[in-house]
């Protein structure tokens, strides 16, 4: 990983794979020997309700696990965009699923990336993998992790009985990376 501390906030609807995407980033950080924290929003959550998770990846000990002002925001729906986009740190990055979010940031002090991850997923038979497409794009634009290492780490947790998922995740990550 590049040196420093990454405060990442991933937000969307429950069921979009928000928590999974966060875990994938945190797990990779852990396997690189870095300090990582992953904190979900918890409570009366349900499929379709609001969900988010805070991920911090750092080469130093991590204090508060909360990410109120992210360096990187990954927004998967409009409510998340509206709620968190104003809080991105100046110089930070926004990643928005433009198939879900029909607006763009007016801020000039952040770097914005739009990718229609949800429609890319449905067009390519990758239902439920918009989150991984987003991750591919995040890795490309931030350079936070090496692509091959991340892919290996991502699919390593998939049991042999569900090998079809390996192919799907690999394809989804590449789609996002090459977009």
């Amino acid at each position: 990983m590049k040196q420093g501390t990454y405060n990442i906030l991933i937000a969307g609807f429950g069921g979009q794979g928000v928590l999974f995407a966060g875990k994938a980033l945190a797990k990779m950080g852990m396997h690189e020997g870095l300090h990582v924290t992953w904190l979900p929003s918890y409570g009366p959550e349900m499929r379709g309700g609001a969900a988010n998770c805070s991920v911090i990846i750092s080469d130093e000990e991590i204090g508060s696990p909360l990410v109120p002002d992210p360096d990187i925001l990954i927004a998967l729906n409009i409510p998340s965009f509206d709620k968190f986009e104003p809080h991105i740190k100046p110089g930070g990055m926004l990643f928005a699923d433009s198939a879900m979010i029909d607006r763009k940031t007016a801020r000039t002090d952040i770097e914005a990336h739009y990718i229609p991850a949800s429609s890319l997923a449905s067009d390519n038979g990758l239902s439920g993998l918009a989150n991984v497409i987003m991750l591919g794009h995040v890795i490309k634009k931030t350079g936070i992790f090496d692509y091959d290492a991340f892919l290996k780490d991502l699919v390593s947790g998939i049991p042999a009985s569900r090998s079809a998922l390996v192919e799907g995740n690999t394809k989804a990550l590449r789609l996002g990376f090459e977009y």
Binding site: A26, M30, V36, W38, L39, Y42, G63, S64, P65, P68
Partner: protein
Amino acid sequence: MKGNEAIAEAAINAGCLYYFGYPITPQTEISEYMAKRMPKVGGLCLQAESEIAAVNMLLGASASGTRAMTSSSSPGISLKSEGISYLVGSDLPAVVVNVQRGGPGLGGIQPSQADYYQATKAYGHGDMHLIVLAPSTVQEMATLTGEAFDLADIYRTPVIILADGAIGQMMEPVDFSTRKPRELPEKTWATCGHRGARKHNIVNSLLMEPEELERSIRDRFERYRKIEENEVMCEKYMTDDADIVVVAFGIAARIAKTAAQIARSRGVKAGVLRPITLWPFPNKEISALADTAKAFLSVELSMGQMVTDVKLACECRRPVDFFGRTGGVIPAPADVAEKLCAMARELSI
């Protein structure tokens, strides 16, 4: 791994064979994990009909000499407090986990440290103390759980793990091989089968003769004295040259460390003393810091509870201020740093 799961796995590693639970947010992953793992290690995970039932099952299991645990969150812990007092009165080792949420009443489900008074002063009626451990990382959720079982067996006392919703829910890397188990006394008091080989044991907390009850309490307080002498744990972070020492435990200590760094970048020499045992409290360590520091700040997820113990520990030799958020709100490091800078201005340091 989640903090809650780390507690469960560490308990199983420590040889805990009985877990009695009742679901409540934000600690239900402990039950969930136990339900999955316990049958595989030949143990029992039982969802009781209520918290009160669970704590009394804990008492029974512990009396048999087996390692056992229960867990809950704030409102559920209040229900368990009667049983905790009975465990103390019966001199039984047991581990009770409280993953705190906001109160009073049903309160909320977000992280809180508002059960500090309850945990350190009044988990049950009667003349009593409990060892209270306060983990600050997921790693410590694991190591302190192992430690809790050992301390409970060595001193024949229930041990409380006072965590909070944030540490319970968050994931961090955790290594289960880092802790060395302690040497443990034989459980000669256990009410387990012996095929007539010895006189039968009785576990009981009812002593009708005042002198007899007083003697048993004095014996227990002799053990408490040993605990206070030998088992205090705390972490010091940049305290050597600190003008202001923040005292904070659990999740608040992590926030305090970041705040101390921010304050230092603004020229305020801040450090953090993190009690790991809340009882016994690190009185000596705080008193020693009162020789070098100019002021203390207690940072808590409550309206201010531990702050009274900090005042007692430094015996009013230094001003002790308080900063906290409550109800499930987690203070931001920047707000704590701002408080430290304001204190520095007031004290002209």
